[in-house]
């Protein structure tokens, strides 16, 4: 279109740069958390993720080896080892928490009880005293530069120790039926609304359009009461039905709009050939509507997987019912500072939607275009 009038190269450049800026602005937040989820816990807390590739300076509080590990060296009792478990370089060290940089590497300090201590630049330390060590060993305060360290420990920890693996299964349990059930129910209804003549059809369609925007909040209390009366208050069955009900208006709307666009001749010739409505639906409409079905399936999947509100209200808080978004919410509340746990948990939870998103983007876009009320 616009190419016919030739484009200025400066304009092309500024467009490219502007898009690059937008893309960076939109990806950096996620990228930052992704990098952080692989970083070592101590490094994550002491330097920004953008410095992850560089050595970082950090303050380490190190407790010397236990009294049992001491050995006798002539008249001296000695405890030794290294304050740096994963390499690095000691810049300075101290013997009180107030001053991490009282001594240079290699200097000798005298602690209480006549213990003399030294820490070398490579991290090797040596405590020596005239009598045997007893009780808790003294602490050393070290300022060190440590090389970048990446680890899978965070993921191991959240998946196995923190119980996120379990809630991953819970989320699956919620999501799959809550995606499949409404599709089927909506497909039949959409077919009736698209291709059958009956009184009240326009009214039902208008109602469905209206229900598209009814806030979920309105349904919570009445339905929770209803579910409790029916005995499915904290059951998976309850949340499956709830998600199905809430997803239905969009499903019917999307599918009806799509089915109306199917060519009339196909359906009428099938009717002439003696096919019943049920056969027409199963053998003609359903296969032809696959793109719309896929679009809605992705919507509903993303929505139920990412949902927090419905899950909090209609499911319990016990380990065998807590979904991943619920875990994230509790982690944010209780462990606001433990970013390695939060980052890894968040990535476990958003990995599945992201994969679905990138694999099925085409259908998602198509659904969005059809679903926004024109």
């Amino acid at each position: 279109m616009e190419n016919i009038a030739g484009t200025k190269s400066s304009l092309v450049w500024s467009v490219n740069l502007a898009v690059l800026a937008l893309v960076l602005l939109w990806t950096i937040p996620t990228f930052g958390l992704l990098v952080s989820s692989f970083r070592d816990r101590d490094q994550l807390a002491s330097s920004g993720w953008w410095q992850a590739m560089f050595s970082s300076q950090q303050n380490i509080i190190f407790r010397a080896g236990a009294a049992e590990t001491q050995r006798q060296d002539g008249a001296q009792w000695v405890i030794d080892g290294s304050v740096l478990e994963a390499g690095g370089e000691v810049k300075a060290w101290g013997i009180t928490s107030k001053d991490h940089a009282a001594f240079a590497p290699g200097a000798v300090a005298t602690m209480a009880d006549g213990v003399s201590a030294t820490v070398a630049a490579d991290g090797a330390y040596r405590l020596s005293a005239g009598k045997a060590f007893e009780g808790r060993s003294p602490r050393l305060f070290v300022t060190a530069v440590t090389p970048p360290r990446f680890t899978l420990d965070n993921y191991r920890k959240v998946l196995f120790a923190q119980g996120l693996g379990r809630s991953f299964l819970n989320t699956m349990t919620v999501t799959i039926p809550a995606t499949v059930i409404p599709i089927l129910i909506a497909a039949f209804a959409a077919f009736a609304l698209a291709w059958m003549e009956f009184p009240g059809r326009a009214l039902i369609i208008a109602t469905v359009v209206g229900l598209l925007v009814v806030p979920l909040q309105l349904s919570l209390i009445p339905l929770l009461k209803l579910h409790n009366q029916l005995g499915i208050g904290k059951e998976y069955l309850g949340i499956w039905l709830a998600h199905s009900g809430f997803g239905l208006p969009l499903a019917i709307y999307l599918l009806r709009n799509y089915m109306v666009g199917l060519p009339r001749e196909i359906i009428e010739s099938a009717r002439v050939d003696g096919a019943t409505d049920f056969q027409i639906f199963l053998k003609i409409i359903l296969p032809l509507s696959f793109p719309a079905l896929a679009s809605f399936a992705i919507f509903q999947f993303l929505w139920t997987w990412n949902d927090l509100l419905v899950a909090i209200v209609f499911l319990g808080n016990s380990a065998d019912q807590l979904v991943m978004t619920g875990v994230l919410k509790e982690l944010l509340g209780s462990k606001g500072g433990e970013w390695e746990i939060l980052a890894a948990s968040a990535f476990v939870s958003i990995s599945v939607p992201l994969v679905v998103f990138f694999a099925m983007q085409k259908y998602l876009v198509r659904g969005l275009l059809a679903g926004s009320v024109k």
């Binding site: 616009e2 898009v19 939109w26 996620t30 958390l33 009445p222 239905l248 927090l308 606001g336």
Partner: protein, 330 residues
């Protein structure tokens, strides 16, 4: 594992149950009113009158129970006390008007309504217009669109990390504070600064919704008749003029759709506020206030009244949507 088996079994039962229901009900209809024999004509007409309702039945039941019935129960509950036992008239509503937190929520929701749809639509329009002109536009679109797949709560974690505050003397690991310090400012606990923290929360939703706006608007931009643009070029219009005077006026309808869709989402915003501030420091919004009264306050009367306020705010858009849909069907 056992649960997944249960879930799979439910799917199988559910799917077969549904198919079975539709199949059986159609079969019964055909047996009672056979489309052959002496009364074939009359039977076919009658069956055609009943069959739509068989197809619609399950959907209508679910819609009624899960979306229509709650509206009436909520109205009823909002006129009753905290446990729903006694009639209290309009007491919950008069309480609402006087409540400080409710006023704060209304004000904040109003801020959200002004800012989020505007910002998301603006960024969406810009990125749609720009990405359509370059070679790697599709990749760029994917990247801007990506946050759509991330849950509100996941996005809250991502952004809370950006707003993180370590304290004086410590290296800032949150991107925002690091940038502020880099440019010579003082690090802040961004989420606890009243009024401005609202915008910190809104940024999350704008970040998520821009992709949606971009996708819809990009399709609309491509649908503009080429002749109008060619004519403008021949008349010597600059690219900026073409965009603002020729393209944007032709997609006002779509911009309105994007705007209203995001507006509805904004009115229901809940997860982000719950996860990032839980309504503290002057950042409360209606949906979270309602949740507060429902679970922490255990007051179904007040919670229902707040929910109805949200419903009331959505209603104009609902009416507008229905009118548009009806016009289109004609």
């Amino acid at each position: 594992m056992q649960q997944l088996v249960l879930a799979s079994a439910t799917i199988v039962i559910g799917v077969f149950g549904c198919v079975g229901y539709f199949f059986a009900s159609n079969l019964i209809l055909d047996t009672i009113l056979p489309p052959r024999g002496p009364n074939a004509g009359r039977n076919i007409t009658r069956a055609a009158g009943i069959r739509p309702w068989l197809f619609l039945g399950p959907a209508l039941i679910l819609l009624s129970v899960y979306l229509i019935y709650p509206v009436f129960v909520s109205i009823w509950l909002s006129l009753r006390d905290s446990t729903g036992d006694n009639f209290v008239g309009a007491a919950n509503y008069t309480w609402l008007i006087g409540d400080v937190k409710f006023r704060e929520s209304m004000f904040n929701n109003f801020l959200w309504l002004l800012f989020v749809p505007a910002a998301a639509t603006f960024f969406g329009l810009i990125s749609a217009a720009l990405t359509d002109r370059i070679r790697w536009g599709n990749f760029a679109k994917s990247m801007i669109f990506m946050p759509m797949a991330i849950s509100f709560i996941g996005a809250s974690v991502i952004w809370k990390f950006i707003y993180d505050y370590r304290g004086e003397g410590l290296a800032e690991i949150g991107l925002l504070n690091a940038l502020v310090e880099f440019f010579g400012g003082t690090a802040q606990t961004w989420l606890t600064v009243p009024f401005w923290n609202n915008f910190m929360l809104m940024a999350v939703l704008v970040w998520i919704q821009t992709g949606f706006a971009m996708v819809i608007l990009s399709a609309a931009l491509r649908g503009i008749p080429e002749e109008t643009i060619e004519a403008a070029i021949l008349d010597g219009a600059s690219p900026l003029q073409i965009f603002t005077r020729i393209k944007v006026p032709q997609i006002w309808g779509t911009i309105a759709v994007v705007w209203t869709t995001i507006t509805i989402l904004v009115l229901k915003v809940f997860d982000i506020v719950l996860a990032m501030t839980n309504g503290q420091w002057g950042s409360q919004v209606l949906a979270n206030l309602m949740f507060d009264w429902m679970f922490r306050g255990n007051d179904t009367g007040r919670a229902s009244a707040i929910a109805l306020v949200i419903m009331l705010l959505v209603t104009p858009i609902m009416v507008w949507n229905i009118r548009n849909a009806r016009r289109e069907m004609r």
